[in-house]
Symmetry: C2
Subunit: 186 residues, 2 copies
């Protein structure tokens, strides 16, 4: 578990460092006195600056109307030690339980949005909805990350990457190939 006190601010153009590898994330939201968390694996970085992230949230999720109406969410990055919570959150509905309480997670106060963040996650990305033009057709939301914080260590956390069928791949060895890149491509 991580401590909210240790987290450091992340430059918004560096959000790709955490999300581009494709981890499962937890999306937290609030609307009309309710709060919720959902597990989400369908997302992509879309721009460095402004810091844009696109994600899929289908209308069948309890979070769908909450994020659509509040136009805010927090994308939280869990690590391997939160595997049970990630699975539990993905297999329950916020229509019947408060997932923070049920899974023993604490809701932190965000700085730029009203949606709560998940303290126990390695990183928290506070988001505002900037484009809902593909929401009706696909459930595709385009978010601008407006505040970002992450644990300072480990430098590369053991994130979870979902393949379907209950199987996750855990982030493994880190390979630094910086010397093979053109400077302008880094």
């Amino acid at each position: 578990m991580t401590s909210p006190i240790r987290k450091k601010r992340v430059s918004l153009d560096k959000v790709r460092r955490y999300l581009e590898p494709g981890p499962v994330v937890l999306v937290s939201s609030a609307w009309e006195g309710q709060r919720n968390i959902m597990t989400m694996g369908w997302h992509t970085v879309m721009a460095f600056s402004p810091s844009l992230v696109g994600c899929m949230i289908s209308a069948g999720n309890h979070s769908f109307e909450m994020v659509r109406r509040s136009r805010e969410c927090v994308i939280n990055l869990p690590t391997f030690e939160l595997t049970d919570q990630v699975i539990g959150i993905g297999n329950t509905s916020g229509a019947t339980i408060d997932k923070f309480d049920h899974f023993g997670l604490s809701a932190g106060t965000s700085e730029e949005v009203a949606a709560p963040l998940v303290n126990e996650c390695y990183a928290n990305f506070e988001c505002r909805l900037v484009d809902d033009s593909l929401v009706d057709r696909y459930g595709f939301f385009v978010w601008e990350v407006v505040n970002a914080k992450a644990e300072p260590s480990p430098e590369y956390p053991e994130t979870l990457h979902y393949t379907g069928d209950g199987v996750f791949i855990v982030a493994g060895k880190v390979i630094d190939r910086r010397e093979q890149f053109l400077p302008q491509m880094l």
Copy 2:
């Protein structure tokens, strides 16, 4: 390196198994007698059936006009052993070299699209453009996968996951938590 002979057809609704974990991919395309390959890390699964994948290709890439005009591409999944080629392809432009020849990769014939596939990759997903409404604004293309093939083994390949700054995370241990899922969530 993989052999085109060994690859088996993948059910189109199972494409998420390969792309949802967030690997770097190689996008191959063809247009007016030219062919090209680009390295791409910004993509997301968008639907099971039809099998939809969204990806970002910025206008600065030589491949941009090729995929926009041909409305086709192949998304190829490289593994750890192709790291040098993945980096090289990402650091060169198809405006000046033929990347298949330059990086010693062989172009395979796709079954459903005119774009060539990269034989040496673990999997090949032939795609047709189904939605270009966010291309001008973001460079976001929505593809339908119309044919998919993958190596039968290893079951979970060592894919590359890019963090920026020349650093990749390699897919590590596989954890099967199937028994923790509700049947309808698998």
